[in-house]
Amino acid sequence: MVLKSISRIKKALPEVQHVVMFYNNGTIFQTTFEQEKNIPKLGENLAEALNHIKKLYEICNYSFENYKKIILETEDISVIILKLGEESNIALFFKKEEDKELKLNAIKRYITRIEDLIDMDEKELIIKDIVAKEEEVKNLHEKLQEKLSSIKNLGINLEKVEKGLLEGDSKKLTKEINDLGIECSNLEKDIEKKSSEIDILKEKIEKKQDTPTLFREIL
């Protein structure tokens, strides 16, 4: 999937010679550079370059929060480093052609796709967690409803047995109702616990600053 996006980038922008997708710790996820090159060192240096610019900003008291792109132009090659997700970046190595402006918009959607694939930021992770927990709560509610209706049915049967309208063991029915009652109270406790966990996660997400990292805001 990521490889497909890379080939689409290269097709949309033929002047792109190489693509490097790397994390802030220097790990390269994918690159079009051949294996004969020292790929780990390439990642390490790209990460260091980012880190140096960050330090430069810190010295000048500028905010480096959510950098968008870094452009380096030399005579033959231009390098553009774009921020992808929370901790991921993409470096595009262009062959420089005179009087030709780079049209990064042409590759915008591929890069957004890559970002979605290789790096989810913490906020999105929490949202994902909330959704999963809400799904669990929904399932627990369904289970609870089932059990409550079973209790109701058993209660009706018990009443009939006691009145002699139906044959059956009233003790067994009472025990089943009691067991189901315990299960219901446990389910209610679980629902309460999960709901409070959801509240904590929601509070956590509210505390987090709104950090737009998506590429669509970069271009």
Partner: protein
């Protein structure tokens, strides 16, 4: 202040005390640093082994060997959370056994976070498991940690004996610990929906700087382990084998020797020298022997009781103080406690010390393991200090309890088998009740186990 500087200041004060108050000759400082003919130059052998292993480890790290193996194995999990938890834990233990705890953490934690980003999963359960379990790797081989090297050189324990008596026990405990973590996290590990094909696209060769160097390192490490096992220390000591392999690796790799030497952790070497001098002085002045005899009398004559006390005592001390000076101080004390026992028993005192000093670190997150919290924070996946503390403490107590039981089984078989049978019976009883009991009992068990898990991991 750097620990090396503190140790060297202590060593300098020791030197002045020895020469001006105790009237020792200057040569004493050389004896304390490198050892004497009588103790077979223990300290010198330890220093050479540590430096040689540092060189080999630096080259292996340069080649990207361990990162390559780690991602290659993680891909085998195909994103299945339980397999991922098991594989990532085994990887960090294996790397810690060959390199050391700190390097294992530095290599594995960022990789785990990267994999979690690809799989879109919460890395906390994996990071916490790795952070706690990494200490087990430190007790696999003699070369796995500095306390092991110091202990083995002093007690003349061979590589294979150490592995059979400490490494294998660590392997058993690893199994128990992994089962414990799977029980704790089984409900929190979600199967990733989208990231698995992306993980499979991760090109592992991107982690390798130089294929040739990687193969050379694999061959060298294999030969090293093989020679450690095959050659008895009387014929060739471990440090000599490691030094030869390190030098051969430098020559065949063609790496810049100057750059390589710069990467050696000289801070650690100076720290060790300082510790050697301070503890050596305490030893020649008879302080450690007095403590040893006093403790030996106090702990009665029961071997297993003494061994278990050493285990818990060294673990407790390592929780708050660095395990290198603790080990160096405790070695002669243990020598004094165990000297009246047969040699077969005597080594168990040292095995117990090796386990306690390596594993005790996790009782508090104040030692080297704090690095895990920093790394997680740096990679924007912070983990809770309290959670880390709780998990580390409970797991270490659990591990030390099992080890104590193993020692009881070895020395007091009847008592050991009685305790083990009782435990197995209780577990079996719980299992029967849980499987065949009424709904009420099943629910009660479920609620107890959920509450227990929540207390530890929430």
């Amino acid at each position: 202040m750097s620990r090396a500087i503190s140790a060297l200041i202590g060593a300098t004060i020791t030197f002045f005390v020895l020469t001006f108050i105790e009237h020792y000759d200057f040569a004493i400082i050389i004896d304390l640093t490198f050892g004497t003919k009588e103790d077979s130059y223990n300290n010198f052998h330890s220093l050479i082994l540590i430096i040689s292993m540092m060189i080999i480890v630096t080259i292996a790290n340069e080649a990207g060997l361990f990162q390559f193996i780690a991602i290659k194995l993680i891909k085998l999990s195909k994103g299945h959370p339980i397999y991922l938890l098991i594989i990532s834990s085994l990887i960090i233990v294996f790397i810690a056994a060959i390199l050391n705890n700190l390097l294992a953490v530095i290599i594995c934690i960022p990789l785990t976070i990267t994999v979690s980003r690809i799989l879109n999963i919460n890395p906390s359960p994996y990071i916490l498991t790795q952070a706690v379990i990494v200490n087990l790797g430190a007790s696999f081989f003699i070369i796995s940690s500095i306390p092991n090297i110091l202990i083995a050189n002093y007690a003349e324990i061979s590589f294979i004996n150490f592995f059979l008596n400490v490494g294998l026990i660590s392997l058993i405990i690893l199994g128990f610990t992994l089962a414990f973590f799977i029980f704790l996290y089984k409900d929190d590990l979600l199967i990733p929906k989208e990231g698995i094909p992306i993980l499979m696209e991760f090109d592992v060769w991107n982690l390798v700087q130089n294929k040739k160097l990687m193969y050379q390192t694999i061959i060298s490490l294999s030969i090293l382990i093989l020679l450690f096992i095959l050659i008895p220390p009387i014929i060739l000591s471990l440090d000599a084998i490691a030094l030869v392999i390190a030098l051969i690796l430098i020559i065949i790799s063609g790496l810049n020797g100057k750059e390589l030497i710069q990467k050696i952790d000289f801070e650690l070497i100076f720290y060790l020298i300082g510790i050697f001098i301070i503890t050596g002085a305490l030893e020649i002045l008879g302080v450690l022997e007095i403590i040893g005899i006093y403790l030996g009398n106090m702990l009665s004559v029961n071997v297993v009781f003494q061994i278990i006390i050493i285990l818990w005592f060294s673990a407790g001390l390592s929780a708050s103080v660095d395990n290198i000076p603790i080990t160096k101080v405790l070695i002669p004390i243990i020598g004094a406690i165990s000297k009246n026992n047969p040699s077969l028993y005597r080594n168990y005192y040292y095995y117990s010390l090796a386990i306690g000093s390596n594993w005790g670190d996790n009782l508090t997150p104040l030692g080297d393991n704090i690095l895990v919290l920093n790394l997680a924070e740096q990679h924007k996946r912070p983990i809770s200090f309290n959670l880390f503390f709780k998990l580390g403490f409970i797991t270490t107590i659990f591990q030390l309890a099992i080890i104590s039981l193993i020692f009881i089984l070895i020395f007091e078989f009847i008592i050991g088998i009685t305790i083990t049978s009782a435990l197995i019976f209780v577990i079996f009883l719980f299992y029967i009740l849980y499987t065949y009991g009424s709904n009420r009992i099943k629910l009660k068990f479920k609620s107890i186990s959920t509450n227990f898990r929540n207390i530890i991991i929430k």
